[in-house]
């Protein structure tokens, strides 16, 4: 049994420790917001946080998350109040939406570490997340907007 803390809730799962965290989150815990896109850390659709750091859950053995704090898109905010979510709505970022959980989880680490990201910072933070619909220009704008929201205290 592996003990996991996901979005501030305790779980105990009976899986092979080598199983990718992605499938444990999706199938054992039942949180489907984290997506499968490539299975080899190429696309970023599966991005979650372990102790606040982004990881590609499709290549992360569940054993690595044992005893750590896992946060998924469902745990980002209960009510769409996170500045990134507000900015994503304001800029109408998603098209198909499949990659957006991962995009937002990557952007969250960026803004935590750099409250005023430049274009080049956004490139450095976001180039691991593929969007086949091509929402990159809007993701860029939304990250800037979220940074402004945070600076002005407009969102928690």
């Amino acid at each position: 049994m592996i003990a996991l803390n996901v979005n501030r809730r305790q779980y105990s799962v009976d899986v092979d420790p080598a199983t990718p965290l992605l499938w444990v989150i999706r199938e054992n815990i039942g949180l489907a917001g984290t997506k499968y896109g490539c299975g080899m850390a190429q696309c970023g659709a599966c991005t979650v946080h372990i102790d606040g750091e982004a990881v590609r859950s499709c290549v992360t053995p569940v054993s690595r998350a044992a005893g750590k704090i896992v946060t998924t898109i469902e745990g980002l905010s209960a009510d769409l109040s996170h500045p990134l979510q507000q900015a994503w709505i304001a800029e109408d970022v998603p098209q198909c939406g499949y990659c957006q959980s991962g995009q937002i989880m990557s952007a969250a680490v960026l803004l935590r570490e750099n409250s005023k990201p430049t274009d080049s910072d956004i490139d450095d933070a976001m180039s691991g997340n593929i969007c086949r619909c091509g929402t990159y220009p809007r993701i860029r704008r939304a990250i800037r907007r979220a940074a402004q929201l945070m600076a002005s205290g407009g969102a928690k």
């Binding site: 039942g30 489907a32 098209q95």
Partner: protein
């Protein structure tokens, strides 16, 4: 698949009829056949198949189009809400069940594709909204015992201003049910639009940023198993010997079953299913496709391109004029097979019982899938219900002519006797075929002494998408698959002598429509070659196009808008150069100007793309902009990176490391400008794609003097010697 093209529109009607889909006239508002899940509580006012108004004031719009990113879960409700005068904040969206009521208003089957959703629903959904509004007003008028003419609807209420009374739609739902549906509806004057034409936030965004949006891959039902298939290494190969001992010993693996598509490992979840699949030991009989290679196909195609094909268009005497022209230009162009690579890999969940079958999947092709599933299940189509989930991208792949991803899932479920979700790995998806065809084109043109083109010949070689499908009989005419020559046969330039002909070799690689279909290749070829002619004539490529499009006002409109916004002709910094292209597809006109630079090592950087689009009247301008942005990124990925190749019958690519996508650090700045128009609304999902590759290739030529005639662009061809 341009629906404005009369011929093809009729053809699709026939195709629909052939599929057993009922024919609908746009202005007929269908009612449900009565057996579906939307046949709900009696207190609900459901005046037609698209609207349900609850006594709690909820307004549910049933959308018959698959939401794959193109914004139909917002644009379709906008059409209805505009005429219904609903409170936009109360609108909820539900995906339509499979029912003839939801057939494509033009194509006659239930499907999403061809950039036709707004184009084809423009009249019908506004009328659906107006009809409901009139019934609500009639109910209120009766309640108040006043003349309906003295009442109006606004933001979810019917209002009688004279007596200062109002009733909400919910309060009127019960009595509206009893009203006689109006025989005729009057639609709003466009100047009174409150929603249409205004940038409107997408209704599906909140669910897509908090993890609640449900894609096919996310659906779970009790007792469900998960399957991953070992698929043939060569198209059409058959498993002749299967050793599944190791696969079955993987904890969690429940069964190994053979289906036509391959060998399925069925397990408690994806991971054991995948481990089991990887542990299978299969001997394949590879069949005739085992010798396929890109190199030999190129050679074959190049030879074919030198011979005359089936004639798709002939004006004047192109051959003779060409021979006697003052200057001749010839060139060969080629583009590779491309995979759709939607972010959500294909998947399909099937719950098959003795008397019914329920399917959950993200599909663009409900009528076709249902018929195919029913045939495999041994049921009638009416016994099969498809729940269309959100699609994590479609781009055409989820409208498969043989319903491949649905049929195999039904077969697996049938073999296992339990609900099963088949999940494709990314490798399965990239290697699974149904590609945009590989194309090889040979062009020649003659210029007169003044540099004006007088003859144009264009021979196209590539597989037909429609051949061998149920659409062939009605959509392939005289050896011409319209989708093979679209964008080439309707060459808009004022050239008096034109020949466009086609070879459609049969190759064992499954091919399919891929965002913008034939235009994805003809846009590149035609607009690049035209650029060659401009340079040969010593003319500015923009002015050259303008002169040849003098009689094409809507082409000119986008061309001039894009050029002026891009400041065509103004100096650019640091090795950058501009390229321009204009293309008509899906009844919309798009011009793009790309700014690119080429590093010494041949690496191309696209800095900026300016896009002008004329898609008639616009429903949601923000969606038009988003679709152009997305189309440009999609087209750039193909132009700069995309390539599926074959060796010994095997696809050489398998995941995003060797079939790469454009990433954030490579995405250009994109500006989109919309030409104001009161014409009928036309497509936006695909028309953003075709112009970007030639705009970039033409910019590369302007920057380096090197002509890109083969995609993807290769740094090795552009490296400084």
């Amino acid at each position: 698949m341009n629906i404005a093209t009369g011929m093809r529109r009729r053809d699709f009607f026939k195709a629909g009829a052939a599929l057993g889909g009922g024919l609908l006239i746009s202005f007929y508002l269908p009612e449900l056949s009565g057996t579906s899940e939307t046949d709900r509580a009696k207190e609900t006012f459901a005046p037609n198949a698209f609207i349900r108004i609850g006594t709690d004031d909820s307004v549910t719009i049933i959308v018959n189009k698959a939401e794959m990113g193109q914004g139909v879960y917002t644009s379709m409700p906008m059409l209805i809400a505009e005429e219904l005068e609903a409170d936009w904040s109360r609108i909820r969206v539900e995906s339509a069940p499979v029912d003839p009521a939801y057939n494509h208003a033009v194509f006659g089957i239930q499907m999403t594709g061809g950039s036709t959703s707004v184009n084809s629903e423009w009249e019908r959904l506004r009328k659906a909204g107006a009809m409901a509004r009139m019934m609500l007003i009639a109910a209120a008028a009766q309640t108040w015992n006043v003349n309906a003419q003295s009442c109006r609807a606004e933001s979810g209420y019917v209002i009688h201003a004279a007596s200062n009374r109002r009733l909400s739609f919910g309060a009127l739902a019960d009595s509206a049910v009893k009203m006689e549906p109006p025989k005729e509806v009057v639609l709003k004057d466009p100047k009174d639009y409150k929603l249409i034409g205004k940038p409107t936030h997408r209704l599906d965004t909140p669910s897509k940023i908090n993890g609640t949006a449900q894609f096919g891959l996310d659906v779970r039902i009790p007792g469900m198993l998960t399957a991953v298939l070992a698929r043939p290494p060569v198209f059409g190969a058959k498993a002749v010997r299967i050793n599944d001992e190791k696969a079955k010993s993987v904890p969690g693996v429940a069964a190994v079953v053979s289906v036509r598509a391959g060998v399925a490992v069925v397990a408690s979840g994806f991971w054991p299913a995948k481990l089991g699949r990887d542990a299978l030991d299969i001997v394949w009989e590879e069949g005739p496709n085992a010798t396929l290679s890109t190199a030999s196909l190129r050679e074959q195609y190049a030879n074919l391109a030198k011979t005359p094909g089936a004639v798709a268009r002939k004006d004047g005497d192109p051959t003779q004029t060409l021979a006697s022209a003052a200057k001749q230009v010839t060139a060969e162009y080629e583009v590779p097979y491309l995979a759709h690579a939607m972010m959500e890999p294909l998947n399909c969940l099937v719950d098959l019982r003795s008397d019914r079958c329920e399917i959950w999947t993200g599909t663009q092709f409900q009528t076709v899938d249902r018929a195919a599933a029913a045939a495999v299940a041994g049921l009638k189509p009416e016994q099969v219900q498809i729940h269309t989930t959100l699609l994590g991208g479609g781009f055409g792949r989820r409208a498969n002519p043989v319903s491949d991803f649905v049929v195999e899932a039904v077969e697996v479920a049938k073999a296992v006797g339990a609900p099963v979700k088949v999940i494709w790995t990314r490798e399965d998806d990239i290697r699974g075929g149904w590609y945009r065809p590989m194309w090889y084109d040979r062009l020649a043109a003659g210029l007169d002494a003044a540099g004006n083109p007088v003859a144009w010949t264009h021979t196209i070689v590539g597989q037909s998408i429609l051949a061998g499908t149920m659409f062939e009989s009605v959509m392939v005419k005289n050896g011409i698959d319209g989708s093979s020559v679209e964008g080439a046969a309707e060459l808009p330039y004022a050239i008096p002598n034109v020949l466009v002909d086609l070879h459609s070799p049969k190759v064992g690689v499954p091919v399919q429509w891929w965002r913008s279909v034939g235009h994805s290749h003809t846009g590149f070829v035609v607009e690049s070659f035209l650029d060659e002619l401009a340079h040969t004539a010593g003319k500015d490529p923009y002015e050259f196009r303008r002169a040849l499009l003098a009689h094409q006002p809507r082409y000119l409109g986008v061309l001039e808008l894009a050029a002026s916004k891009a400041k065509w002709g103004a100096p650019l910094p640091g090795g950058r150069a501009r390229g321009i292209a204009v293309h008509f597809s899906f009844d919309s006109y798009v011009a793009q100007v790309a700014e690119a630079s080429v590093a010494d090592d041949g690496t191309v950087r696209v800095h900026r793309v300016v896009c002008a689009v004329d898609c008639g009247r616009v429903v949601n301008p923000d969606t038009v902009v988003a679709q152009m942005e997305g189309g440009i990124i999609f087209g750039l990925t193909a132009a700069l990176k995309g390539e599926i190749t074959l060796e010994r019958g095997r696809v050489q690519q398998r995941n995003f490391h060797d079939y790469p996508m454009l990433r954030m650090n490579e995405a250009p700045d994109i500006e989109v400008y919309i030409v104001p128009s009161t014409e009928h609304p036309t497509g936006v999902g695909e028309p953003g794609v075709p112009a970007v590759a030639p705009a970039v290739a033409n910019a590369i030529f302007a920057a380096t003097g090197k002509r890109v005639r083969r995609l993807p662009v290769r740094a090795s061809d552009l490296r400084k010697a």
